[in-house]
């Protein structure tokens, strides 16, 4: 569980309604709304995890962090009755339940599996429930997608412009492709060794 003490707030006087923040928010906390007759970005304080991604992409520098009146607690707890089910999702994704998926907040695969079992169906919903992708916003997306797919969920593309659902992994490559590129890129050898470290999956 992590406590978030801040939230991002838009200065409507500076907002030019470009929608960039809407596109990049990993928890889809931002919507365009009419403020004094003009479209402005508005951040839902109940959802924002203060990741600062919107702040860093706003061309008008119209967004800043403020202290929350009351802190937000983030984290998906795994119910005892769901441990085996969560472990099965992780194993299918070639992950240990305890392994780190989000390096920024050190969120483990089992926490993401718990969010999925708790109803999360997209990376954005996983982010809202666990905080994954609300740090660097980059490194863990394919891990989250692999876990969602392992739970049998079909993903198309993000509501914004961050992921496109074309994620593949070394386990998706055909023998033919791996043989073709093995000389220079060690695909067959990596696959064999990565299978030893990260067993599981439903591949042949």
């Amino acid at each position: 569980m992590r406590t978030v003490n801040q939230l991002a707030v838009v200065d409507p006087a500076k907002c030019n309604a470009c929608r960039t923040c809407v596109q990049v928010c990993p928890v889809t906390a931002i919507e365009m709304k009419k403020v004094a007759g003009k479209q402005k970005a508005c951040i839902d304080g109940a959802i924002c995890q203060a990741c600062t991604i919107c702040i860093t992409r706003c061309p008008e520098r119209a967004i800043a962090l403020e202290l929350r009146v009351s802190p937000l607690t983030i984290g998906a707890e795994l119910k005892r009755t769901s441990v085996a089910e969560a472990a099965a999702i992780c194993l299918q994704a070639h992950m240990y339940p305890d392994q780190i998926v989000c390096y920024c907040h050190r969120i483990q695969a089992k926490e993401i599996a718990a969010a999925i079992l708790g109803g999360a169906k997209t990376p954005e919903q996983v982010a809202r429930m666990t905080g994954a992708r609300t740090g660097c916003g980059v490194l863990c997306i394919t891990g989250v997608i692999r876990l969602l797919r392992s739970a049998g969920l079909e993903l198309k593309r993000a509501p914004g412009c961050q992921w496109y659902g074309t994620t593949l992994s070394i386990w998706d490559l055909s023998e033919e492709v791996m043989r073709k590129y093995d000389r220079d890129f060690y695909l067959l050898r990596d696959r064999q060794q990565i299978d030893e470290i990260f067993p599981g999956g439903g591949h042949k």
Binding site: V24, T142, G143, C161, T167, V177, I194
Partner: protein, 476 residues
């Protein structure tokens, strides 16, 4: 013992990702007993760098070298009024203050305008994990003005463009590929050897600085430690990129500094050239570091922890120093995201031989000065870590390191931190990653050890290791 005066450390940078330079009370080189050890005294014969005497000197040399390098490149495909995107990465600006890279970009622009008679030339600067950094760098080097407003910072969360390849579809940042032509403007610094393993190092930005989050994440998390390097290569070879690729211009780096500029129409050939050079130029100093047995390491440089540098090598080259990162028979190096994910606690989830531990020679890590904005909790978890006062607050407030300080000890000043580290490690060997150019700032005891090890090691590297490294890459 032959030692040198201290090498000047890299100056601190004013940045939202760093502490106020006024809070940086002391640098590693100011500690008692520190001395400089020159690369030339360790391994004579390294290539001579350009002079960094003044910004004017740097600009003059780099402009001449860029013009000379581009003279051998065919730019005839670019016709007026074609648009051209010069693709840059934030890394280049972190090399020796960034003026050389900035001037290379300016000179490319001017040469393209002069030879191709188009002024529709844009500069697109890619980011790492600090999305505001390109804007900072554009402003710092007045590139907005120079490119007449045709500049943009790119981040991996920006809108993507599909890139179809032999194995699937990846996504580049749309703005990078918005022009008729692209010029890949990068550098050959050895940098993250633990990721690229000198397999297609020059291609990497196609899956990083110019790519969106899904492609970057795939490289780091879902592909495999060596085979991930197939992704940037396939993106480069994709129809979309080949249709737009005009040439590449590379700032040539060596452990001694900036060597010059190289340009080529064929990145495959250019990459082979630099693989040979990097193996030859960086192999010795990296291998020397891997022979050290016990060291207190001080991070003291304006970049995030793994990218702090000295003598052209990174903190991470030392963190992974207990394995030979050039040896492609070794699949996993101690730190990559493929290993980081195995450490929810002090011990890895996988207990077999394939995953080596972080370099046990690093007995303590002292963080005096670095940037936030890179997930680095692994370092504090795995190494006894002391963080000097103001840096601790910076890291506590970093959204990418929310638990870093749970594993580190805050100490009031650099001297106290190093004294404490000395007491618990019982070593006098101190190595600073402080941006030293042409050598390293180390304690006298460590300088002596390095000078003793170097001659014999040079023979082993030349006779045994280099031929193996070259052969593994089909270069022998």
């Amino acid at each position: 013992m032959k030692t040198n005066p201290l090498f000047p450390p890299a100056p601190p940078r004013i940045s939202p990702y760093a502490i106020d330079p006024n809070l940086l009370a002391e640098r590693a080189g100011q500690l008692p007993g520190m001395t400089g050890v020159a690369l030339d005294d360790l391994f004579p014969g390294a290539p001579s760098p350009i002079s960094l005497a003044s910004p004017e000197t740097i600009r003059k040399q780099i402009r001449e070298q860029t013009k000379k390098a581009l003279a051998n490149v065919d730019l005839s495909k670019i016709q007026p009024p074609d648009s051209v995107n010069i693709l840059a990465s934030h890394h280049g600006f972190n090399l020796y203050g960034g003026e050389a890279y900035a001037e290379m970009l300016r000179a490319i622009r001017d040469e393209v305008e002069r030879r191709c008679h188009t002024d529709n030339i844009n500069l697109c600067v890619g980011a790492g994990l600090r999305f505001r950094e390109p804007d900072e760098l554009i402003q710092k080097f007045s590139l907005d003005e120079y490119f007449r407003g045709k500049v943009c910072g790119m981040a991996p969360v920006d809108q993507g463009v599909p890139i179809k390849t032999d194995i699937g579809t990846f996504h580049g940042v749309r703005r990078a590929y918005s022009a008729r032509w692209i010029i890949h403007a990068h550098n050959s610094d050895v940098r993250e050897l633990h990721y690229h393993r000198q397999i297609g190092r020059l291609f990497k930005p196609f899956a990083m600085s110019y790519a969106t989050i899904e492609t970057r994440s795939l490289y780091h998390q879902s592909m495999g430690p060596r085979s991930a390097n197939l992704i940037p290569r396939l993106i480069y070879e994709s129809p979309l990129v080949q249709e737009k690729f005009a040439c590449s211009v590379i700032l040539q780096m060596a452990p001694t500094g900036i060597i010059g500029v190289d340009a080529h129409n064929d990145l495959v050939e250019q990459d082979k050239l630099f693989a040979r050079r990097n193996i030859s130029w960086y192999g010795k100093i990296i291998t020397l570091l891997s022979c050290l047995e016990d060291v207190i390491l001080i991070v003291d440089y304006p970049n995030s922890i793994p990218y702090t540098t000295a003598c052209g090598i990174l903190f991470c080259n030392f963190l992974n120093g207990n394995v030979d990162e050039f040896d492609l028979d070794i699949p996993f190096t101690p730190f990559t995201r493929y290993t980081d994910m195995l450490y929810p606690g002090p011990d890895p989830l996988y207990q077999g031989d394939l995953v080596p531990p972080p370099n046990p020679a690093i007995r303590a890590l002292v963080i005096n000065y670095c940037f936030k904005g890179y997930p680095g909790t692994f370092f504090a978890q795995q190494l006894p870590t002391f963080v000097v006062g103001p840096q601790a607050d910076l890291l506590r407030g970093c959204v990418q390191n929310t638990t870093f300080m749970d594993y580190a000890i805050e100490v009031e000043g650099l001297r106290k931190a190093v004294d404490f580290a000395r007491r618990i490690t019982k070593t006098d060997n101190i190595l600073a990653f402080d941006g030293a150019v042409g050598g390293l700032n180390v304690s006298e005891a460590l300088a002596e050890r390095m000078l003793k090890l170097a001659p014999e090691l040079a023979l082993k590297i030349e006779g045994e290791l280099m031929p193996k490294w070259l052969k593994q890459r089909g270069l022998l």
